[in-house]
Symmetry: C2
Subunit: 246 residues, 2 copies
DNA sequence: CCCCCGGCGTTGTCCGGACATGCGGGCGGG
DNA sequence: CCCGCCCGCATGTCCGGACAACGCCGGGGG
């Protein structure tokens, strides 16, 4: 059964394909157990190493799960083919080109406004480190306004600004913490008057508002950034690639 | 050197940690080669299987790459910790709740307008299958307008509408093709008058426009969907999780 | 009748060996 | 001096064996 393939196809790959087919065609239903390693060795007359290599790849592909003492369970009939978007840092998420930079005009500890406190969320009146700035292109043309709110526990980072890379990465290094999750909310609304002024747009012309929250393992907000773009000059593009085929 | 750890830590894991530390501390610089399997077996007095298991995990972690005949090269000093967003299908990307559905009001083959042709992109005047519809909540309240343009080579799908799942998935099944990539563009602009009417908003009130292109392996657009939401009722939320730590 | 414990089956870890395959560099020929 | 072939080395594939750790379930005890 196995020796029909070309000799160039490794044995474990043929075993993997056989099991994969059996799963796809329902001979090994989802929720059921695959034959044990010993059974496969017996039936196919191969060594346990070879069988284990085949099974390892099925685990990799997300088709089965293995538990010591319990066996190999089928968990999916087809390998999951998700659409995935991935960023190394937040520059990609923001789509800021390499030649833009955040020009910080001021930093201070200040109480959160009620609106800000609702966004974070945090108690209104809590004092967070606040950075006000403008993202500018290389030619100094303003692209977006930016407000960054940093949890008071990381306020000492203010003394080290500006940082070379992303602020969240610097905070992670400096304080030995970890951003676990980022939540970005995008909505459209007329530009607030002060924002329109900075960006050189007519008051109440259409804008896009980006709120980004950096959460730690406890889902607490470590950093919140709020930025406004002029809609006439900005389109947000996201590109999702499909995970590779089996 | 290795026997200091608890006996509960597998040998290969201790070797993996040792190599990981060596990489992190620069003893094995990025671009350089790790000791060969045989050298590690010799130095650590373990079998080749054990060394290979440790190296396999370093490959898994993205720290090294291996090439038959060439050796094991260090490719990263720290394991990449990307922020990732992942969807099984496009319902998640669109954030449509379970209880919304796309109500298709009409389908026909029609020539692309110049604007549509520029979005796809395709030759103006090409005849694509066009679906016009409205996404409605369970209570029939309109949420967004929707226009779906389908490449003429898949026009036969029109005879099978409505489909149970996502249209792109049905096309993949029916025609044996594969969506490789999805590009979504979000911008803000005043709602076009007909859209405002359907959504029950004032003309030229602020809206968000979503253009989604489904691309095949040759980067050709298979499907394009264009939808408008009222900005007053809609915020786009994206959540990125960090890939797990080493 | 229920619970605990122990045995058996299964996967995990680790050792040994052998040959195949691919890469790269050294060496020889043009 | 350059090109190509060949050989050595590194990883890939595949075989054998042994014991450990863990899950599950049934049997025995309370």
């Amino acid at each position: 059964m196995l020796d029909a393939a070309q000799p160039r196809v490794p044995l474990y790959a043929r075993i993997e394909a056989m099991l994969r087919d059996g799963i796809a065609e329902g001979r090994h239903p989802v929720g059921g157990l695959l034959p044990t390693e010993a059974e496969l060795c017996d039936q196919l007359q191969v060594s346990r190493h070879t069988v284990r290599e085949a099974l390892r790849r099925l685990v990799e592909a997300g088709l089965v799960e293995r538990r010591q003492g319990a066996g190999t369970m089928v968990v999916a009939r087809q390998p999951p083919r998700d659409f995935v978007q991935s960023f190394r840092d937040m520059r990609g998420l923001s789509q800021y080109a390499e030649d833009t930079r955040l020009q910080v005009n001021g930093q201070r500890m200040a109480a959160l406004t009620p609106e800000e406190a609702a966004l974070v969320p945090a108690d209104p009146g809590a004092r967070w480190l606040r950075l006000d700035g403008v993202r500018v292109a290389e030619d100094r043309v303003p692209i977006a306004t930016a407000l960054v709110l940093i949890h008071p526990r990381f306020a000492a980072i203010g003394a080290e600004l500006p940082v070379r890379g992303a602020i969240h990465a610097e905070i992670e290094r400096r304080f030995g913490v970890e951003v676990r999750e980022v939540v970005q909310e995008i909505c459209a609304a007329p530009l607030p008057v002060p924002v329109a002024e900075v960006l050189g747009r007519k008051p109440r012309s259409v804008g896009m508002r980006f709120v980004r929250r950096y959460l730690d393992a406890e889902e607490e907000t470590m950093i919140l950034s709020l930025s406004w773009h002029s809609a006439e000059r900005y389109t947000y593009v996201m590109r999702l690639r499909r995970t590779e085929a089996p």
